[in-house]
Homo-oligomer: 292 residues x 2
């Protein structure tokens, strides 16, 4: 089998259970079922599922059963989804489209979108707490999730983004912003995979290095797509970040293309402690070349 085929097969072996797990959530004929609809609208909107895939694969390369990590990976995806819903709100980025569909508040109204985000964040911890793993592993995973998602992680990054608006920022600030806003949750995705497998501290550090480089490459690619991409492929407005403090504005497009390549290779290099690193290597390289 060629590399491309086996990568795709491996990926689909993860994507199906991830979609099945997420699709089974927030159902039922309860009075608050419109909340469930709003949560599912964004959760099941055809995201790339990069974060849960990372969780499952890091669990596997650390010698664990990826099924153990499934609720943890889906918890990370719930946190990612909540952050998108709140980010799109009129008082935040005020975006009308996401993944080719109207944003959550455009369909359900602002109040419901705030609550759907709140409920998805809470459900992430509920899902992790209910996983079929030891109390030690569940407690470790929830520590990682909360630490990476909160004021010292993702939300901290969103605040730097907010406060940096309408100011020219230096490279250190933008790197810190992206490290928190995008990097922290990618880090959580990789680390909870290691934790689900009961992996070593050395494995956690390698996962963190992979995630940090991947996050930088990923965000830089995102910024490039915002100026060079197409609405049809992206499913959201092109040029929307024009006034934002992106890597493209900081370094220019040419240097950004180089940065994506460099950081992708740094991510690959971080995988050195793991024996079976074919999939994670290929994933990093594909993310560097994606057009959406």
């Amino acid at each position: 089998m060629r590399m491309a085929d086996s990568f795709q097969t491996h990926m689909e072996g993860y994507l199906r259970p991830i979609e099945d797990f997420l699709t089974a959530q927030f159902t039922g004929e309860l009075p608050q079922k419109r909340l469930f609809e709003a949560m599912r609208y964004s959760l099941l909107a055809g995201g790339k599922r990069i974060r849960p895939v990372l969780t499952l694969e890091f669990c596997r390369v650390c010698g664990g059963d990826w099924r153990t990590a499934l609720p943890f990976g889906c918890a990370v995806e719930m946190i990612h989804t909540y952050s998108l819903i709140h980010d799109d709100l009129p008082c935040m980025d005020d975006d009308d489209y996401r993944r080719g569909r109207p944003t959550n508040h455009k369909v359900y109204g602002e109040a419901m979108a705030v609550l759907a985000g709140d409920a998805l964040l809470t459900a992430a911890f509920e899902t992790a707490a209910a996983a079929n793993a030891s109390a030690e592993i569940r407690a470790d995973v929830m520590t990682t999730l909360a630490g990476c998602a909160g004021e010292m992680g993702m939300v901290g990054g969103q605040v730097l983004d907010l406060e940096g608006e309408a100011r020219e920022l230096d490279a250190a600030y933008i790197h810190r912003l992206q490290e928190l806003k995008t990097g922290a949750l990618l880090k959580a995705a990789c680390v909870v995979g290691v934790q689900a497998a009961g992996g070593s501290g050395q494995a956690i550090q390698a996962a963190e290095r992979y995630a940090a480089a991947l996050g930088l490459a990923f965000q830089t690619r995102d910024d490039l797509l915002d100026v060079e991409g197409e609405f049809e492929k992206l499913g959201k407005a092109v040029g929307a970040d024009g006034k934002k403090n992106t890597f493209v504005r900081l370094y220019g497009a040419a240097r950004c293309h180089a940065l994506v390549r460099e950081q992708t290779e740094a991510a690959v290099a971080a995988l050195e402690p793991f024996q079976d690193r074919t999939f994670l290597t290929e994933l990093a390289r594909r993310l560097a070349e994606r057009d959406h």
Copy 2:
């Protein structure tokens, strides 16, 4: 010592460490420190701290050291605080005052208020995860917190409230709404106290019954204060709930006063399995008579 004195002493023995614990959170000179300010603005706004007090006392009456329960009680208070910040947003209740001060978004802007709420909810789980207790207890507590705060608990109740606006609701709907919106988090406060002490299933059930009755009495008293109270004591607008589906609108004020008394006695009766129930009894009775 008279009952009133000993109640006050017992209460202050809890309030000081609660305030100290909360005051120590979200400090430091980081780029995202304005987020910390926004979080602390609402967290340290002079709330009554009923929820963490319940947590500490339920831990104590179940034979535990209340110090073990301190981070768990403060986690509940963080969840309570986040829910108030999001509830006050223009797209929700659009309130300008809370506890006698401008609401969070009035001071920090809507975007920061959304993020401060998100960060406090996340920090609740971070705080519970970092507690000095066994992994089993921490995992149990986080299960309770997430279950009571999420789509089947508090957020579910907020959705019922939102969807019930501008409609006449029946008693069953309003009871369900209040049971989730106010009751679920009070339940969490009591139950995590029992869990912190490693209490029995019977103790958890008793704590749930106490919390349910206390929650109903508490909410009914709140609704009465909204029509009969004074701005100076409440620190928020009087009559603001006029068009809402409250117990007062449903039953009228006279029957509501009787309901507060009945439910307070039901709460007291639920304490029967606990030997030392003086403080929890007195707390329920004082909450029934409060003027703010």
